[in-house]
Amino acid sequence: MTVVREIDVIPFRNRIKETAAKMGMGLVNQTKLITAASELARNMLKYAKGGKVLIEVISKGRENGIRLVFKDEGPGIPDIALAMKDGYSTGKSLGLGLPGTRRLVSEFNIETEIGKGTTVTIIKWKNG
């Protein structure tokens, strides 16, 4: 799914909600996942003028989950460790986006290359 305008986040959030509801994910985990996705989508819009998000249902053993891959072709993040710190922001935000997102999901991975872009992958297990 492409997210290039601010208004795109609404259908995007709805799509995740549908997917999560269909697999029977509880409301709290759904809310955490959608909130995390909303943070990452905002980052993508703000720093990279948008990007693409892949939404997939995955399973590991008997556990099902949703994996979201956020891929942008923005400027990249010079210092990931710093960006992952609570309260750090180069923009005017609270700096909760990345560290907060990591707390809300089961698995979190970020890869970035200066000048090429950033890919953030998150997984939320149905019961995790």
């Binding site: 959030r13 759904q30 909303s38 905002r42 609570d86 609270l94 909760l96 986006g97 907060g100």
Partner: protein, 133 residues
């Protein structure tokens, strides 16, 4: 662009957010509310978020801003009806919304606001929220 309506009820302003929030809409609400407080001299703002299923750091910050700005304009803000899943998520996200009064539903929120306004009018000045810095 859509707009979130602000209703005036006596000394209070009533906002019911019935749509999915996105950044610009939340920012517009912030600006509209502050203007309305200024125009009407409202002493309290009640924001019903019972229909809001997602509050992320940006929207959370806007809610905090609204409360702070209203306070400077001599109005109290109460947020009512937060869904439990939203509350859990906000805390894990790291946004405890300190300084924002909340109530379980509109009725309780109204009486909380009314109580605060009465206190003010009877001349009793309530102490600060206790956050001393």
């Amino acid at each position: 662009m859509e707009k979130i309506p602000i209703l005036k009820m006596g000394k209070l302003l009533l906002v019911t957010i019935q749509v999915d929030l996105y950044d610009r809409l939340a920012e517009a609400l912030e600006a509209d509310l502050v203007q309305m407080i200024n125009k009407t001299g409202a002493q309290g703002v009640l924001i019903d978020i019972s229909a809001v299923s997602i509050i992320d750091s940006f929207m959370g910050r806007i809610i905090g801003n609204i409360a702070t700005m209203s306070k400077i304009l001599d109005a109290e803000t109460v947020v009512v009806g937060m869904q439990p899943a939203v509350a859990i998520t906000l805390i894990e996200l790291g946004l405890p919304l300190t300084g924002v009064y909340s109530a379980l539903n509109v009725e309780k929120g109204m009486s909380l606001l009314q109580g605060k306004i009465n206190l003010k009018e009877t001349g009793f000045i309530p102490e600060d929220d206790g956050d001393t810095e």
